[in-house]
């Protein structure tokens, strides 16, 4: 397939899939080598990028997803008659921050830092698709581990966890010493 068609095919794939699609899947479906697929995907993402663009193609780790530009949330809400997404509570943001910077973490670790029970918040962050279970820790009780999702990256408009703003040095070390 020539490059123009490949680009259009990828648009079609991202549109239909809805979910994030990995570079490997695209490469496989179009019979491309991975670097070529990665390059076309990134080109498309750049092309769709733009403050006013209605539809965006965002990258999350090695996956790409088509989504709407939050700028147009209001008319979308109106047409779809959706309930507005309530912003996260301070508690939700705190738990999310702890998970994001220390993942994978147990509930006990989160509660240790916040000093309060966090079951409810963890449940609602899971329901919102911002954190997810990541197996269990091989310790007595086998506690569940939590990490952030691809959706979390999209909500922060970053494409990888490495883009999270760094924690000031001193603080990070203290934390390490405590843990």
């Amino acid at each position: 397939m020539e490059i123009k068609k490949l680009r259009e095919a990828i648009k079609a794939i991202l549109f239909v899939s809805g979910d994030p699609v990995s570079i490997d899947r695209v490469a496989d479906a179009l019979e491309l080598d991975r670097p070529t697929a990665a390059k076309i995907l990134q080109n498309l993402a750049d092309e769709y990028d733009g403050e006013e663009s209605g539809v965006l193609i965002v990258r999350m780790e090695d996956q790409y997803q088509m989504c709407s530009n939050p700028k147009y949330a209001k008319p979308i809400h109106k047409v779809m008659d959706m309930r507005r997404n309530t912003p996260l509570s301070p508690a939700g943001l705190e738990v999310l921050a702890i998970v994001a910077y220390n993942q994978p973490v147990t509930k006990a670790f989160i509660e240790q830092i916040r000093g309060v029970d966090c079951s409810g918040v963890i449940g609602s962050l899971s329901a919102k698709g911002l954190i997810e279970e990541r197996g269990r820790l091989e310790l007595p009780g086998r506690p569940l581990l939590y990490g952030t999702t691809a959706n979390f990256l999209r909500c922060l408009s970053i494409s990888s966890l490495s883009e999270l703003p760094p924690i000031p040095e001193k603080q990070a070390e203290e934390e390490k010493a405590d843990a």
């Binding site: 899939s17 088509m66 912003p87 301070p90 508690a91 943001l93 921050a97 000093g115 309060v116 999209r154």
Partner: protein, 245 residues
């Protein structure tokens, strides 16, 4: 320290409350005057209780912890108190940092990205991966014998305890026979001439099974329930399988 008299803000937890008191009184987080802090902390707790707010157990635990730190700091040797204070300071610093990060994250956080539901497509689900036959054998050997450990004990294992096992299917037939002649019977009458617990249990299960299979309907309430045949009481060919004993 000034007197606290205002509408109570809500706190995320004891650490949140402590940080609030510390910043309000411009205290040094690394060198907390425990006695003063405890006093203000307790005032807040009492205020919360007065306003009928739910004081979570974590707040009370922290109160106990502060009291303990204050107590040991009155002892002539201070080491333990110092260590406990440092621990509390460390925890507060850590939580403060967590809040700072959460706030900076909030600034760039946006829940208004919308995605589409994946299109519904009918797929050919045929499995096309390739496995080595040995994998299959391994799975077989793994499965074989497990049942012995997991299956419920056979009825014979209880032969020394139970007296009579009444099969549910025999009761299904019995209930249906009554309904074919009467079309409608009182629910309780089904249990009237029963000769023991297992007889009653089997009859009860039979009724449940028939309801589930949409063969009968139970109507009414408060002891006036009746059992009716559905489909106008016409015999259904499927019943033959119930009848086989």
């Amino acid at each position: 320290m000034e007197k606290l008299s205002y509408k109570l803000p809500s706190f995320e937890g004891p650490l949140d409350l402590l940080l609030y008191l510390i910043s309000k009184n411009k205290l040094n987080i690394c060198d907390i005057p425990i006695a003063e802090l405890l006093e203000q902390y307790m005032e807040q707790i009492h205020e919360m209780q007065k306003q009928d707010m739910d004081v979570a157990s974590e707040f009370l635990e922290m109160a106990a912890r502060l009291v303990y730190i204050k107590t040991v700091s009155l002892l002539p040797k201070h080491e333990e108190a110092e260590e406990l204070s440092r621990e509390l300071s460390g925890q507060l610093l850590e939580y403060q940092e967590c809040r700072r990060v959460a706030q900076s994250m909030a600034a760039s956080f946006n829940l208004e990205f919308f995605v589409r539901e994946p299109e519904k497509i009918d797929f050919d689900e045929t499995y096309r991966r390739v496995h080595r036959p040995e994998e299959l054998l391994a799975a077989y050997l793994n499965a074989a014998g497990r049942g012995k450990r997991l299956l419920p004990p056979k009825p014979e294992a209880f032969s020394g305890i139970t007296h009579r096992i009444v099969s549910v299917s025999s009761k299904i037939v019995a209930v249906l026979r009554r309904l074919w002649t009467a079309h409608e019977v009182r629910y309780e009458s089904l249990f009237e001439e029963k000769r023991g617990r297992s007889d009653m249990v089997a009859t009860f299960l039979a009724v449940l099974e028939l309801v589930r299979g949409k063969r009968v309907r139970v109507e009414g309430e408060d002891g006036n329930e009746t059992v009716k045949l559905m489909n106008g009481g016409v015999r259904h060919w499927k019943l033959k399988s119930y009848g086989k004993q």
